[in-house]
Amino acid sequence: MRWPRRRHSVLPGFGLTLGFAVVYLSLVALIPMAALFLRSRGLGWGGFWETVTTPRVLAACRLSFGAALIAATINAVFGFVVAWTLTRYRFFGRRLVDALIDLPFALPTAVSGIALTTIYAPTGWLGRALEPLGIKAVFSPLGVVIALTFIGLPFVVRTLQPALEDLEVEVEEAAASLGARRRQTFRRVILPAVAPALLTGFALAFARALGEYGSVVFISGNLPGKTEIAPLLIVTQLEQYDYEGATAIAVLLLVVSFVMLLVINALQRWSGGRHARGA
């Protein structure tokens, strides 16, 4: 039991703060989201199912889920290396690099999209180098992955950093003194300890990538069935005045996001529990 039970009731303000939080959240977020569900209900269950299972929607979802998954995986791997380097090593410019991690978070997505396209287009700095290798970085699924990796990076690094800082060096020392090699220590001691945080970061990056729109439309080719992402499909449906179709896809994305977040919170509790036991 992580929170001793009755002890808190001494404090005042529970009703006021909870009441305010719930009312505010309802007004700003929950009621508008309910509008989304009600609107898509106009289709009926059959119509909803039919809308979200057309080949075009399925292809868009495959790309969105697939690219988000790949991007989140890239971020998990490289994000781990980045977080590890930033917490464990001291090198020139470390603080600046650390500060830069949040950049994708603060830069408007449209600007990120335009900047990434400028760089990775065949005329751009990196695109010029990639083109002779036969790698098409923009207007291809790879472009989607690039944009989503950019968007998701801070989530993984920022989740891992506190967890890595939290690791007790003594445990590693103990492992080393018991004859474990560095690689074994890493696999048996460090990785299990930060695994929940890594999973959390992965899930957050994935959830964020699933819904990303602004940066992707610039760098993706937007070809139906090939490089069209699910949020773009919502926009496309809206352009045709098909509100029911748009809300149906939106509901699908919303439900998936919500489930992702529930999983994230479960992971965080698990990670919190592990830390508590480890200390």
Binding site: D102, F105, A115, R208, S271
Partner: protein, 285 residues
């Protein structure tokens, strides 16, 4: 944190990892940032500065400041209230509430805008009523403010909750025992305890509020000089083949990002060892 030889990697591994970090971040983070500034200064400092003389750009900056100026304080109050309720008390549905607070983080920006159109649009729930009273919410400033508020809901609360849970309730209880009122306790004990996390949350909230594109784009109506925020103005300038101005205005937001990051680094310095990440994996022991 002193590293001892027995727990350190061989030198070549360290070099390799540092190089991978720098290369990866170079390709993904630094080049886009540099690209923004290079494009902005392509025609020299004069053209760069001239971009900000456009009244449409100035009005976009004003609107963005207004939206952030409302969204940040509102979410600050909400964050404090929600964190107080969630961190200091036990109640059923707490996990659900925390998840719902997080939800705007993961909702597609397109959807965030769409939900307000469905509520306030001409054919939405409140549309006919608003129309009858001659009130305009979407395609006007209130809609932009609402969309900005929505996307920035989680930040302050998300920052405070883990910290306040970790700090427990002993300090507040002592203050109450010593005869302080509830309000005094909150102001004199709780607030100072969390002030850096609070500031950190405000900084992130502000950055996101100023940079939001997708959700605002859906509810803006793009009326030049009236309902365009800075990110929308960037897109418009870009579509007008005015690349220097587009990137110049974008560089303003990139600089905001850098200033925000600098401010945050400063905050982190002062908080020293305290956990300061919004994405901190749960509370610490």
């Amino acid at each position: 944190m002193g590293l001892r030889p027995s727990t350190a990697e061989p030198r070549w591994v360290r070099l390799l990892l540092v190089s991978v970090t720098l290369l990866f971040l170079g390709a993904f983070l630094v080049t886009p940032l540099v690209a923004v500034f290079v494009e902005a200064f392509r025609k020299g400092l004069g053209a760069y500065l001239a971009s900000f003389a456009d009244p449409a750009v100035l009005s976009a900056i004003r609107l963005t400041l207004l939206a952030a100026g409302i969204a940040v304080p509102v979410n600050l109050v909400f964050g404090l209230a929600a964190a107080w309720a969630v961190a200091k008390f036990e109640f059923p549905g707490k996990s659900l509430l925390t998840t719902l607070i997080d939800l705007p983080l993961a909702v597609s920006p397109v959807v965030s805008g769409l939900i307000y159109v469905l509520v306030f649009g001409l054919h939405g729930w409140l549309g006919p009523w608003l129309q009858a009273h001659d009130l305009q919410v979407i395609f006007a400033v209130p809609g932009i403010v609402l969309a900005t508020v929505f996307v920035t809901v989680p930040f302050v609360a998300r920052e405070l909750i883990p910290l306040m849970q970790e700090q427990g309730t002993e300090d507040e209880e002592s203050a109450l025992t010593l005869g302080a009122s509830g309000w005094q306790t909150f102001r004199r004990v709780t607030l100072p305890n969390v002030r850096w996390a609070l500031l950190y949350g405000v900084i992130l909230c502000n950055a996101r509020a100023m940079g939001e594109f997708g959700a605002v784009s859906v509810v803006s109506g793009h009326i030049r000089g009236k309902t365009n925020t800075v990110p929308l103005q960037v897109e418009i300038l870009y579509n007008e083949y005015n690349f220097v101005a587009a990137f110049a205005v974008a560089s303003l937001l990139a600089m905001l990002a850098l200033v925000t990051l600098a401010a945050k680094t400063l905050v982190e310095w002062r908080v020293a060892a305290a956990p300061a990440s919004i994405f901190a994996a749960g509370e610490k022991p």
